[in-house]
Amino acid sequence: MIIPHPLLGPRDAQEFVYLGDASLIDRPDGLAADAADRFHDYLYLRDNPAGLHRELWYHEQGDRSWLVVTRNTLTHEITQVELARDVARARGRGR
């Protein structure tokens, strides 16, 4: 596969390491009262869609950016690639 890196253009997927569902960005607060339940859901309950999937890829043999890649799991078509840092901020993560 070819992943169109937002900064570096098209790069072979062999340069990347796959992690999984982009929802891993949404890490719960470990000090919250219901943290145990929320971490269970966060870590173990994932969707496995046949179709569009937002997933985390790491450009290990490149600029070390984590990317959120929107990929169709049936066709491997990639429709969107974003820097995970930007996605994380947009989803309210900060310090």
Binding site: L8, G9, E60, G62, D63, S65
Partner: protein, 187 residues
């Protein structure tokens, strides 16, 4: 630099850099460049740009290398560069850079983390197409990219007269073997 009694070895394990010629190409180990990573601290990107400008350090954009009279640099990642200077005069490169950037940047010595090979000659792409997935034929002088050569994370930098490869120092011999093998295959 203060005098000390320790003699350096090159990454290939010799007192002097190794130069080999394969067909029209010269492959030379290069030991006289000091390296440091420079990363802008959060919110200090402007200060870093200003400080760099003040000392004549170019900070190129993604996928690029820029050369200056004393300082050169290539892009590593967002707000992060690898800075180059002559080893002879800048061996303790962090100590030289830090006063210029103060608390605006994180600076880390990288000199001996890397082995550097310079290749000079015509049609180097014929060898590089056997080494890495980069479209070396289309690379312009100043293009710089990290990629994989024989499982090793390396930087490939296109210069005016040739190509520079930076690879992990501990695997210098393996990388050298890969480069020589590709050159023999291509030429």
């Amino acid at each position: 630099m203060p005098e000390h009694r320790l003699a350096p070895l090159t990454a290939l394990g010799h007192p002097d850099p190794m130069v080999v010629t394969v067909g029209p190409v010269t492959l030379a180990e290069h030991t006289d460049i000091a390296l440091a990573s420079l990363a802008a601290r959060r919110g200090r990107e402007g200060d870093v740009a200003a400080a760099a400008q003040a000392i004549g350090l170019p900070l190129p954009g993604p996928g690029r290398h820029a050369a200056g009279p004393v300082w050169s640099a290539f892009w590593l990642g967002p707000d992060q560069w690898m800075v180059e200077a002559a080893f002879q005069t800048h061996e303790d490169i962090v100590a030289v850079l830090r006063p210029a950037f103060g608390t605006a940047a994180s600076i880390t010595e990288q000199t001996d983390a890397w082995v550097r090979f310079d290749l000079a000659g015509d049609d180097l792409a014929a060898a590089f197409e056997r080494l890495c997935a980069l479209d070396v034929r289309s690379m312009q002088p100043g293009d710089a990219s990290r990629t994989v050569i024989e499982h090793l994370g390396t930087f490939v930098i296109r210069g005016r007269g040739g190509i520079t490869v930076l690879g992990p120092r501990s695997a210098a011999r393996s990388l050298h073997h890969a480069l020589v093998t590709a050159l023999r295959s291509a030429f």
